[in-house]
Symmetry: C2
Subunit: 419 residues, 2 copies
């Protein structure tokens, strides 16, 4: 593997003290071998003058194999959305899932995302695609009750079979649960057992819509989903819960006490008009780690962390009538170091020696970032940047985008086979 020396950049470390360092970065193998003044030469040299070097963004809620669904499910109610998605989602081929996953990863890398956390079936196929594309995948095989699934066989057994195997350097396998509307206690606890047995994280949809929450409560003596999952001891610090938009303060305390992490999917929630939003400031005050998730191209409809950062910050400011309710630094943390912490990883999300070389380089010389400087580069990235600024993306020490072009070209035939 070729060593890479990135020269003269503005290094936004996202470390404990959020140091911003002028200097160089050396990558050897798949790791960061030096930061600051690096004298060594390397096989590949990148001049990063006028550029900012960031930890690659981490997207904590995706369904990457739905990348072909953009523009097909817009401006319709969630009920119609789910009906249409079910039809589009059933009867998919291995080739279709693989191709759509490749497309989704191409979009993510193009906009500076280096890791994604996925919830779907057939994650073995997505694992193959991730290894082929070179992107880091945290892949949660979704479980649900057998009566609801389109998976062949038992979803819980499928998930265990997936988690038990190794899937290459770039893939971390884990287990998921679709949601309380299709999962019994047995399924939830089956997933939890797998996570404990193989020491993995867990992923689920949780309290995304009002209907989900009140539908559940009305048929369960008023008990709400989080309350129920707490009562059966499902909640724990392995869990990343997507959405968590309709939760009471009592539920916030239960999530916090159990160490549950939340993936905030602001764009998807708004686009579906669900009307909810996680109580982010209260969650943060209770010590809950929050990160950002794009959700799928069906409901977002892009996999773009710049949009996620700006939109999330702004919709919260608007909802609370308070522009200072959240700052640019905290939002950037959510997209990098807090996401890594949610996935129980210390070797990504922060730029430091020894960490994995997952890096996004931002060109600050485009008009939309002039005259942002060292003092306000974080604000620039969160509020002014967009994918035109992504010059270079490196995952696991390998260059996937350089001089604003993806290295891997998607095959022309990909479009025809994404079902």
């Amino acid at each position: 593997m070729k060593s890479i020396l990135i020269r003269n950049g503005l290094i936004i470390t996202q470390d404990e003290t959020r140091r911003i360092i002028d200097g160089d970065m050396l990558i050897e193998g798949n790791r960061i071998a030096g930061i600051g003044k690096v004298k060594d030469s390397a096989d590949i040299e990148i001049d990063a003058s006028g550029q900012a070097i960031l930890p690659g963004f981490i997207n904590t809620h995706a369904h990457v194999a739905m990348a072909h669904l953009k523009g097909l499910l817009d401006d319709i109610s969630l009920e119609t959305f789910l009906e249409k998605t079910f039809v589009l989602d059933s009867g998919r081929t291995e080739k279709g899932i693989y191709n759509s996953a490749m497309l989704g990863m191409a979009e993510m890398v193009d906009s500076g995302i280096t890791s994604f956390h996925d919830l779907y079936y057939s994650e073995d196929i997505i694992a193959r695609a991730a290894n082929k594309f070179g992107m880091r995948g945290f892949l949660a095989w979704v479980t649900l009750d057998e009566e609801y699934t389109t998976q062949s066989g038992s979803p819980v057994k499928n998930a265990e079979a997936f988690v038990r195997k190794k899937h290459g350097d770039l893939v971390t396998a884990s287990v998921g649960v679709q949601g309380i509307y299709v999962a019994s206690d047995e399924t939830y606890l089956g997933a939890k057992d797998i996570a404990r047995k193989y020491d993995t994280t867990m992923h689920t949809h949780l309290s995304e819509t009002r209907k989900e929450v009140y539908g559940y409560a009305s048929s369960h003596s008023g008990q709400r989903p989080v309350e129920h999952l707490s009562s059966i001891d499902f909640l724990n610090d392995r869990l990343i819960a997507a959405h968590s938009s309709f939760v009471t303060m009592r539920e916030v305390r239960q999530l916090a006490k159990a160490g549950v992490k939340v993936s905030w999917n602001s764009i998807s929630n708004c686009k579906l008009g669900t009307g909810g939003m996680p109580p982010v400031p209260e969650m943060i005050n209770h010590g809950i780690t929050i990160s950002l998730g794009t959700d799928s191209n069906g409901s977002n409809n892009s996999l773009n962390m710049f949009e996620m950062m700006k939109f999330s910050s702004l919709i919260l400011k608007s909802a609370r009538w308070d522009p200072s309710v959240i700052g640019a630094q905290k939002i950037l943390d959510m997209a990098t170091r807090d996401a890594a912490a949610s996935l129980r990883r210390k070797d990504i999300g922060v730029l430091k020696e020894g960490n994995l070389a997952d890096i996004t380089i931002i060109d600050t010389r485009q008009p939309n970032l002039i005259p942002v400087n060292r003092e306000n580069i974080v604000q620039g990235i969160v509020y002014s940047a967009n994918p035109v600024n992504v010059d270079t993306v490196i995952v696991n020490g390998r260059i996937l985008k350089r001089r604003k072009r993806l290295i891997r070209k998607l095959p022309e035939t990909l479009k025809e086979n994404m079902i």
Copy 2:
């Protein structure tokens, strides 16, 4: 001037019936000379296979000379924002205003905007910049009471002097009013007289914040700003009112009856945490024409119509708990044909023979737009596209961006002189 033939594109005409045509477009001089099957050859040929040809976006509320303020005014209250802006905004030099305007236009053209509607003083300098850069400017010289202004001389007289003169092919001069908190009836009516005398449009900030509205009402026997401006007969169909976020249904009816147009600044309003939003569905039902405005880099912090379209649609869906409350086509209309109508122009915002050649060409072969096709191209542009997709921008028949690069390079020294 060289003729241009754009071949084999998907032409999104935005005409009365929203026709989408596969074919060619011929530009001669500053006009569209043919659409569809065009056999002629031309001085310049552009292959638009795999690309969508759109009317250039029209940004109906900007302060382009504040482009250097990005990243300086974030996560703070509106009161602090205004205090800081006042300091940053006073004592500016001609060179600074010119340079900052050039920067703002570069950002707009980079993201496919071809016309902007500006509210500021020193619009004569901005007019020079617009002619130099080649962008179409609708420039409203702002008036306010003399006791509040930093302009030398009388703002109303300055505005008239600006409107009286010709400023070149690309500039349409008009008159503005800052807002009810700094403008007396005399100023409002002075501005209106100028607009009538020279047959121009008018531009103003209106009911942006709760404080503005209730502050006014509490010292004026409960009369609200729109009610007052209606009572003094200021409102009329020349007026484009930015924001209009805090208005009652009575005020909506007054605005509608007078023919006032609204520029919706969703991102700026949310970023400042003002908590308001124009009642868009009710305004549309009353026949009010609505368009989209970025506001300045100080409060947005980008001049990006893709962000504006997606964000506006989503925040409305979320506020109304209804994903079908507004559709992609209406949002694209706001960014093109409805904006043109607001500016009382029939020769932009729609692609048809004889109209001005203000055109944005979108590359649909990037991962974020695959596999969008003819059937869902409008959804693709509104919900999935971003500035990476802007391949070519033409204003008044002149190519300003080609193959994803701005033709005009900003001078390296620009950064140092934007005060």
